[in-house]
Amino acid sequence: MSAIQILFWFLSGLALVSAIMVLISKNPVHSVLWLVMVFFAISGHYILMNAQFLAIVNLIVYAGAIMVLFLFVIMLMNLDKTSDPQKNWWMKLAGVISGGCLLMEMATLVRQAAEMKEKTVMMKEGSIGLIGNLGKLLFSDYVVPFEISSVLFLSAMVGAVVIGKKN
């Protein structure tokens, strides 16, 4: 088993366990921290696939900015596990069962897809995930969406301010 495979399985297991812990944690703060773990694991996957730019952006934007925002909101509201609302048990059961069904179905489909069996993902190598390549594309072919996303941010900021303002 090569190092890459070991890393792959380790990161996958970490991501899954952390994701499940996000669900079952009673305390929202713990949930946020477990989610940060998930993001770290995913970033690890990105690095494993040599998508360095995305790995860094993921860490900065998600694990850094967004999760801090979550944490900030939770602390602002002073939520802890005592105030955590619980759904009734059959709704939980129904949610788990239907989600499980979906997973089973899609997994079965993926396993049936014969053409996908041969294909592999290039690990560790490949230059497309480097910032040089992506930057070149972003500022040539995809410059318009890039600029529009700035407008999106502006509108989101305005929206957040308007919503957050009292009355």
Partner: protein, 111 residues
């Protein structure tokens, strides 16, 4: 690594996100689960990107096939950031009004 492993991993993460949305009533946790699902999709996109690159690489060493998928992930992150800012603002607003983050209080759709 075989692409199927990545697909299954992404699917599992996605399904966990769905189960979270379905089973939790805390609006913030629900929101976090949505982020989880977005990340699962991102992971899948990157894996496909590298798979396409791998296919094209055998013929052309200088190919940039698959770059679009990574850019797509980048835009998804952009949108997610915007969405989170607005969404959290809404949750704060809701908490301010009803002093709870229970999504079941948001049952105005009934009428």
């Amino acid at each position: 690594m075989p692409i199927q492993y990545y697909i299954l991993l992404a699917l599992t993460l996605f399904s966990i996100g769905i189960v979270g949305v379905l089973t939790r009533r805390n609006a913030i946790i629900v929101f976090m689960c949505i982020e989880l699902m977005l990340n699962a999709v991102n992971l899948l996109l990157v894996a496909f990107s590298k798979m396409q690159y791998n296919l094209a690489f055998t013929n052309n060493k200088a190919t940039v096939a698959g770059s679009e998928a990574q850019l797509f992930v980048f835009f998804i992150m952009v949108v997610a950031a915007a969405e989170v800012s607005v969404g959290l603002a809404i949750i704060v607003m809701m908490y301010r009004n009803v002093h709870s983050v229970d999504v079941n209080f948001l049952n105005r759709l009934k009428n």
